[in-house]
Symmetry: C2
Subunit: 352 residues, 2 copies
Amino acid sequence: MFKATDKITINDVAKASGVSKGTVDRVLHNRGEVSRKTREKVLKVVDELGFKPNIYASMLASQKDRVIQCVIPEYQGGDFWSITAKGIDEASEMVSHYGIKVSKLLYDQYDSEAFQTVCDGILADPPAGVLIAPIFRAKTIKFVKELAARQIPYIILDSKLEDDNYLAYFGMPMYQSGYLCADLLTNGTVPEKIYIVRIRRDKKGLSDPTVSRRTGFLDYIGEHCPETEIVNLVIDPNSTESIDCVMDEALLKDASCKHIVMFNSRVHLVADYLRRRGLKDCRVVGFDFLEKNLQALKSDHVQLLIAQHTDMHTVSAVRAMSDYLIFGKIPTRRDNYTQMDILNKLNCDYYL
Amino acid sequence: MFKATDKITINDVAKASGVSKGTVDRVLHNRGEVSRKTREKVLKVVDELGFKPNIYASMLASQKDRVIQCVIPEYQGGDFWSITAKGIDEASEMVSHYGIKVSKLLYDQYDSEAFQTVCDGILADPPAGVLIAPIFRAKTIKFVKELAARQIPYIILDSKLEDDNYLAYFGMPMYQSGYLCADLLTNGTVPEKIYIVRIRRDKKGLSDPTVSRRTGFLDYIGEHCPETEIVNLVIDPNSTESIDCVMDEALLKDASCKHIVMFNSRVHLVADYLRRRGLKDCRVVGFDFLEKNLQALKSDHVQLLIAQHTDMHTVSAVRAMSDYLIFGKIPTRRDNYTQMDILNKLNCDYYL
DNA sequence: TTGAAAGCGCTAACAC
DNA sequence: GTGTTAGCGCTTTCAA
């Protein structure tokens, strides 16, 4: 950047194009009145000389504060969104060195008004960039349209939107993770039954974030083991008794190797049940690298976990925004899907 | 960093401690003659005010060029070291924005003199930092000692060294990857035989980089399938005839499901053989995400691949050095092991 | 041992 | 529309 060889400064450009550096700066940032002619000339010279702005000088001179607002659901220790939050915090630490602030704005994912309030707050005091996880799709679309209108770049997290102005998208290939999950659960065999454990959802009308994972799973089964019977077990995560009751009912009379799967991150609930009942001889596959799931993996109550490094992926998302704000760097990839990591007892310790 | 709230500049520190900013700078960088008394006073004020240098101003003013030299073996399209090289290039692009240059110095990994020459060259024109992959251990240890003496930070790649001054280490858990590999290959069964395909090494005395992987593998087998017979097949990678000959001899008379493993990154050689012979019904596990191996995975000639994202890990290594040079940031973790990724046909496309 | 001052390359306010 | 200029916060001579 400032090696003798490529030390082309804005001054060089100014001289070579016969204007002042103020003007060069104007065309560089599309800021204000420049005649077409000078504009073109400057651009040409910039190109010829291969001028690259010195970000240090630039950042030093423009005393802006650049803040990235991250809008995600509220979370509690260990749950899915807390992992995203962790990624945000990590990235925040990194980019703080570059004078970029990152802050989280949390909303109750069961309360669309709360979400709206957060969005309004952002528009009232516009940040340099926004990261947003759209639980409420319609409201989110409206919100990002507003951001786009104000030239505020935004990155979509988690689930994609019907919108085309996003700077980047970071999320998971949900369908494929379900498909993969089925492959791992069956492991080349054709089970008689497969138990799908699901969480009872209190509020109606909330979209289940794992539907397409479920679809991927069922498609695989349909293609490879059409004979296999699918048994859905609906449990209430907050009541051990209900879990025991539902699971006992289904599993205790089944003497074969039981294939069990759960599509959200709470497979540890199944593991806990199996532990309580002293049941072995099951093949259990679940999702996400939560501490509790890890324990279940180690204690052999869960055989495989499909994990997706949500935290690192989130770090990438924040970095992408940061790089955009600092360098104007357009993300290398616009749609970024997490890789699907297969974890078992032996490799999980190296999954950091 | 330069928000109104924490806008403590070197000037503030200078005033508060009753000296000039030149002096403050001197104590900040342990540069030159400052009396004990002023030194202590300045340090105290720095602490009290919570002064954090503005890296943009700092980088702008100090017109140094900072180059990171990466010393790795020569490589050719698609091989293991080319992946590391790719990671270096990617990171190079990233950190170039921060005025950091990264350059690669390649050596013939079969020629210790060549390696020595490269090291001498580095000492003749010392860079800001070094990344090095130690094939020649003794020479490397001597070299890094010299670096340490000159206060040049260095990061060790790939295999660890008996040395304690390294800034960080980035490599793979080789033993564990072998152990995991055995688990995946056997997949809960006890095979009658396992074929280990090995590459004939021309030069003697070269340490095999996969020995400990092999050890991990054999340990697992010893623990879980002591009955299994291990058959070593040594092939010459450059002669298809020799491969066919060796493999035919061993495999054609074996009618069962053949379990085959290779500990280096060249399992595609096995896949090619199987393709030539039209052999199915084998369980083949290998290492590394090479394009050719990927093809083999997709064509079902290889069932699983253990991959380790060498490229990304290398990016992290370069970034770690870069962050150290720019901010003085000590790496969060000193010893960094890659995670072990299990790839099959279904998740390999998401492994970017 | 210290202070003063001239930049580093860019931005932005102001003047013309 | 465009040029001029005063910084941004730090580093690094050069004098004292």
